[in-house]
């Protein structure tokens, strides 16, 4: 029977989707504290109680790792938060992260039956509530660990995929070492996503958790340089590669090497990993640009534009070649950006950066675009409008148009096949690469995607690696 037509349930349908308390835009655009403050117990209970507990929950099919969503939500309704977090962690080992940065609106929440009424259950917010409750309660549940198998696994990269594989395999009794090129673990969660969207204390907590399970984390170790994959294979039984998509794209237009032109990776790494916003207390310098532009329309573009505002920019502007409707960023993020005062220049494409006599960016020459026929991605293709060039004054511009996988590992590992996009060839179900004893997952396989997909890929690879380590079958 269709849940919605059930008269009993109909009578208690609550369409009041509980808002998440946030710092006010005036306040938050001047600090780096988290924007969204999280549900109170009361709000979480209220929101969870709206769930209709569908017999065939469509939300679960919308989740890349198939979390038992009605299951954990019903725990919140019973106020048994401890059971709720356990339920969540059966499928998702990073709920505090996913509750914050997962695009729920296009995954689980998009499938919610209440979406028809414009009031889908805020699954992500309830997820975040449970994870934060666990952190606050201090009662982190450590699952039982299997007996040591004596098998050793090396994990390359400490982002969401690597952390997931590490957590799963260590519980199965294997000896796990994560190798990280930077000085702090967490991958994109640490260097990329700003504090105001994902506090670094949360990432550190997740890393500490896998360490508490017995995972060894070796930072400042560049696989491909410090040691090659083949050298690691001498000491380890299996390897998982989760090196992400870290090679920034530029647009190949004149003036891109002027000072004041940054890749989003550089700008965000200076700010997040190196804590540039605390300069000169931290030694990594960052400029406090007054007129700031960001090219691109994804979450990374929003992160950069919002960071610039917090650094005291008078003007922070998103320049995007399509229209608002095509922005790849989460709606929540583009709305947050807009509320904070980020200006959106849509249907605009930079064609040239113009510098001053000292080699610093002074102006951006742009061209107006219009939307034509749909392209391969299904979105309407932006087409240049002839003779519509114009210039805007800018002190800095961040190029946030995407990343491709870092070639460091593939290029130093003979026999590891890549696609023409530079991603690793790997089995979709197991993450198995073209080399024996080597698995891969996350952005290095899919190209730049989401935290949850990387985690899901890590889960599958962990299962396959365990199978190999116990049966010898690859």
């Amino acid at each position: 029977m269709n849940e919605e037509k059930n008269p009993e349930k109909q009578s208690r349908i609550d369409l009041n989707r509980r808002d998440m308390p946030k710092q006010s835009p005036e306040m938050r655009s001047h600090n780096f504290n988290e924007v969204a403050l999280g549900y109170t117990e009361e709000l979480a209970f209220g929101e969870a109680s709206r769930c209709l507990q569908c017999k065939k929950p469509r939300c679960v099919t919308g989740c890349p790792v198939e979390i038992d969503i009605p299951g954990f939500i019903s725990c919140v309704v019973r106020k048994d938060f401890s059971a709720g977090i356990k339920k969540l962690k059966e499928k998702n080992c990073l709920p505090a992260v996913c509750g914050r940065v997962c695009p729920q609106e296009s995954q689980c929440e998009s499938q919610c039956i209440l979406k028809n009424k414009g009031a889908e259950v805020a699954i992500g917010r309830v997820e975040r509530f449970l994870a934060d409750w666990e952190a606050k309660s201090g009662e982190v549940d450590v699952p039982p660990k299997a007996k040591p198998t004596g098998k050793k696994v090396a994990i390359v990269g400490s982002g969401p995929a690597g952390i997931t594989v590490a957590g799963d395999l260590v519980l199965l009794g294997h000896e796990v070492t994560i190798f990280e090129a930077l000085h702090k673990a967490g991958g994109v969660l640490t260097y990329g996503i700003p504090e105001f969207r994902l506090p670094k204390a949360i990432v550190a907590r997740e890393v500490e958790y896998v360490k508490s399970l017995g995972v060894k984390v070796v930072t400042d170790f560049v696989v491909g340089k410090t040691r090659s994959i083949d050298e690691l294979l001498e000491a380890f039984d299996a390897i998982f590669i989760g090196t992400g998509a870290g090679l920034p794209w530029f647009m190949d237009i004149p003036g891109e090497n002027l000072n004041g032109v940054y890749s989003a990776n550089e700008y965000l790494t200076r700010m997040n990993l190196m804590q540039g916003y605390r300069f000169p207390h931290s030694a990594t310098p960052i400029k406090r640009h007054k007129k700031f532009a960001v090219v691109g329309g994804g979450n990374v573009a929003m992160d950069s534009a919002r960071t610039a505002l917090r650094m005291g920019a008078d003007e922070s502007r998103i320049i995007y070649r399509r229209s608002h409707a095509e922005l790849p960023a989460r709606l929540e993020e583009s709305e947050n950006a807009e509320d904070e005062g980020v200006i959106f220049s849509m249907l605009t494409l930079p064609v040239k950066y113009i510098g001053d006599e000292n080699g610093w960016l002074k102006e951006i020459e742009c061209i107006k675009m219009e939307l034509g026929e749909p392209d391969a991605s299904g979105r309407r293709k932006p087409v240049e409008m002839p003779n519509s060039n114009f210039r805007i004054e800018m002190d800095a511009v961040v190029c946030a148009i995407g990343n491709s996988p870092n070639p460091l590992v593939p290029s130093t590992t003979p026999g590891l096949e890549t696609t023409r996009h530079g991603t690793l060839v790997a089995d979709e179900q197991t993450g198995k690469t073209t080399r024996s004893r080597i698995w891969a997952g996350g952005d290095i396989v899919t190209g730049a995607a989401t935290v949850i997909l990387a985690m899901g890929a890590g889960r599958k690879a962990a299962r396959a690696i365990h199978e190999y380590l116990t049966t010898g079958k690859e």
Binding site: A181, L182, H183, Y191, T219, D220, F221, V222, K225, T226, R227, G246, L247, P248, F250, D252, E256, N257, N259, Y262, S263, N265, E266, T269, R270, M274, Q275, F279, P280, H281, S282, A283, T284, P285, K287, N358, G359, N406, P407, L408
Partner: protein, 277 residues
């Protein structure tokens, strides 16, 4: 401190020491608040598991490193990064070192000599007292030329006197490799362009991760955008856009000067006025 303002740092890093090749660098972070800076590797000891870097104290980060005492630790030392110097039997190679590059050109000269090349060494400094490691080059070099700005050792002037050195040789060198400050590398490249001598430079731009992730070290080489950390650090000096490179290197000059020099000379300095002895 080896010579005024120039410091030598030996770091225990067995994994790096076991892999490093001439021309490579490490990224070092002095402490938890420190900046990540690239330093060329000048020497290593695979058995002791140590690497040696030589750097000039110019700002905050090098200042902090310069203040380290024996037995202290650095928060980060990662590498070996970048591609190694291409070593082959070229014939005659001029190795030019200035500033920290006197140190980093040393293993290059050694490898070249081992590969059967005739090595001619050129050391450049403002004054004779700023030249270090001169003796280490003696057994490697067919000939050593010194150039000092004040003429206190060898030829007077700067690297523009390189053409005289080249002309003084029985036949032009087959290759020139130069490590040091931007001016040294740019002027060398300018001087050899018309002579058609392959000139290899080892670039030292601002870097953060050193693995190709941030792109701050991008440089135009032969009209193409390259990342010095993964595509280099060595490039054909005739193809580098030096004006752009210099301007990018100076991007944070004003931030750097926020800090004053923090290390003091370790030896007694002469006090003005009365002599205490």
């Amino acid at each position: 401190m080896m010579v005024p303002n120039m410091h030598l740092l030996v770091i225990e890093a067995p994994e790096i020491a076991s892999k490093v090749k001439a021309g490579q660098f490490v990224i070092v972070r002095a402490n938890d608040e420190g900046e990540r800076i690239p330093l060329s590797i000048a020497e290593w000891d695979r058995e002791q598991g140590t690497i040696t870097t030589i750097f000039m104290e110019v700002g905050a980060s090098t200042g902090t490193l310069a203040c380290l005492e024996k037995g202290d630790t650095v928060a980060t030392c990662v590498g070996p990064l970048g591609n190694a110097t291409e070593i082959a039997h070229y014939g005659t190679v001029i190795c030019i070192g200035g500033c920290y590059g006197i140190g980093s050109i040393y293993p290059v000269a050694r490898e070249l000599k081992a590969a059967g090349n005739r090595v001619i060494t050129v050391l450049e400094a403002r004054s004779s007292y700023l030249i270090y490691w001169a003796k280490k080059f003696v057994p490697l070099s067919e000939k050593i030329f010194n150039i000092t700005r004040d003429g206190s050792l060898g030829m007077k002037g700067h690297i523009n006197r390189l053409t005289e050195i080249i002309h003084s040789l029985p036949k032009p060198p087959d290759r020139i490799i130069v490590n040091g400050c931007t001016y040294l590398m740019a002027h060398t490249s300018e001087a050899t362009r018309d002579l058609g001598i392959t000139t290899v430079v080892n670039l030292n731009p601002i870097m953060i991760d050193g693995t190709g992730m941030c792109g701050v070290c991008r440089v135009t080489v032969g009209g193409q955008m390259k990342f010095a950390c993964v595509d280099g650090p060595e490039f054909n000096g005739h193809e580098v856009d030096w004006k752009e490179f210099l301007s990018r290197r100076k991007a944070y000059m004003s931030e750097e000067t926020l800090f004053s020099r923090r290390s003091e000379p370790k030896t007694e300095t002469h006090k003005e006025g009365k002599c205490q002895a």
